[in-house]
């Protein structure tokens, strides 16, 4: 059976042909070539990117229906054990991560897919290529996803990931982080990044964090402790708001039917 994700499901009346997206501020994002992060040296293009206007394919993108989600996709404390049938719960500090997705103009980005992946409480990934000595947690997969609501809000429950070492300048250490991928309403908004945790002393030491040149940009990836959303006797909460490229208004563009 192909349980294929169907782009375009549940999307009547999409405003696909509105204005262009604001150009990416490439000085705010990390550049391709960042020698402090050694792997980037051979994986960074030397030639300048070719600037191109946005066409219909860039101004639309895949849409994902709620119907594709499984019941516990946004609860990483139990979703792996449910999938494997063991029924247990992950070990670690229980947390809620939540926030709002908007564009650069502050408009909510509703009904968009966010995927997350992370190491377990000991800093080990459930991945055939991760050989770190910290043990696997039999009840933790580290894989989750959620679709934002009508106001662009999202939340998931997980355990706080551990820091882990990686070979770069000898043994560098990654701060605790959760990887995330988000689609937005159009291909031009596609974004993959990482969420960090307030107060982690490893953040300023990390060569991957430091591929981002501007301290304020780094700060925007640090989730804040949110005692207002903590669940008493259950879990702490952290909040990270995510901003995708803004869509400009359409003033004089002819909207071609069926394009």
């Amino acid at each position: 059976m192909n349980a294929k994700i169907q782009p375009g499901e549940n999307q009547p009346g999409r405003t696909a042909w509105q204005g262009d997206f604001v150009r990416r501020d490439r000085a705010w994002h990390p550049p391709a070539y960042t020698p402090g992060y050694k792997t980037s040296v051979l994986r960074s293009p030397n030639c300048a990117l070719i600037s191109l206007e946005q066409g219909p394919a860039e101004k639309t993108g895949p849409r994902f229906a709620r119907s594709m989600l499984h019941e516990f996709d946004n609860d990483l404390t139990i979703n792996y054990a449910r999938a494997t049938g063991s029924g247990g719960e992950a070990i670690g500090e229980r947390i809620i991560v939540h926030g709002r997705v908007t564009d650069e103009y502050g408009r909510p980005v509703p009904e968009t897919l966010i995927e997350v992946w992370q190491a377990n409480a000991g800093g080990r990934y459930r991945h055939v290529k991760d050989g770190y000595m910290a043990p696997l947690d039999p009840n933790f997969g580290g894989c989750g996803r959620v679709i934002t609501d009508a106001e662009g809000r999202y939340f998931f429950r997980t355990i706080k990931p551990g820091a882990y070492p990686w070979p770069n300048n000898g043994s560098d250490w990654r701060p605790a982080h959760i990887h995330f991928s988000i689609f937005g309403e159009a291909f031009a908004q596609r974004l993959v990044s990482q969420l960090y945790f307030e107060g982690d002393p490893l953040i300023p030491l990390c060569p991957i964090v430091n591929t981002i040149p501007d301290k304020r940009a780094i700060d925007s990836l640090v989730a804040r402790l949110d005692m207002g959303e903590m669940r008493p006797f259950d879990c702490l909460a952290y909040r990270l708001d995510i901003v995708l490229r803004g869509r400009q208004q359409t003033f004089f563009e002819n909207l071609t039917e069926g394009m």
């Binding site: 040296v41 994986r43 991928s181 995708l244």
Partner: protein, 188 residues
């Protein structure tokens, strides 16, 4: 006072474990086992693209995750657009998309674009995903008018976006991240 804007959330590399969150079965996680994202079911002529990403030393990038976004066989995007995701083989770096041949697509101001696939590349060492295109060798006439290809000033570099034909509906395409014959990447 100028109008205030929020800044876009900055990108970070997808890292070597990108598969966990995007194609969990690829790295040995028994979740979402029914999703076959590299095989797109849509009406139209079937094609297979065999792809390979090479780094600046010519070595295959074996931990890449590649996404596809394309028009359907009638050249429609939006809700008719087709999306897919493939994973480079951990041993040799090759990836495959089984899809349909896209139609000719509209561009801005009534112009048209030659049939093509859009690919985005995510991997360890890539700080922000790379955006490229794949055109087909049979469409030279449409490509001569294509707005994206014509934007590439160095005519020789346009060839980096044309797939190699292996047979009927079968293509191979090599993406070079760096160096000699570096693939063209776009900023849209």
């Amino acid at each position: 006072m100028p109008v205030e804007y929020r800044k876009e959330t900055p990108s970070q590399t997808a890292g070597p474990y990108v598969h966990i969150g995007t194609v969990p079965v690829a790295c040995g996680i028994a979740m979402r086992q029914n999703e076959r994202l590299d095989s797109i079911d849509a009406p139209g002529p079937r094609i297979v693209i065999e792809g390979l990403v090479l780094d600046g030393s010519g070595a295959p990038v074996k931990d890449a995750m590649i996404e596809l976004w394309q028009a359907d066989a009638q050249g429609r995007v939006g809700e008719h657009g087709l999306w897919g995701r493939a994973v480079a083989d951990f041993k040799d770096g090759r990836f495959f998309f089984h899809t349909v041949r896209p139609g000719t697509l509209p561009w801005r101001a009534g112009r048209m674009q030659a049939p093509h696939l859009t690919l985005t590349i995510f991997a360890r060492g890539i700080n922000i995903h790379l955006h490229t295109r794949v055109y087909f060798p049979e469409d030279a006439a449409a490509q001569a008018e294509d707005p994206a290809l014509n934007r590439i000033e160095q005519v020789e570099r346009r060839k980096t976006l044309i797939a190699e034909r292996l047979g009927d509906g079968q293509y191979r395409h090599v993406i070079r991240l760096q160096g000699d014959r570096e693939t063209v990447f776009f900023d849209m």
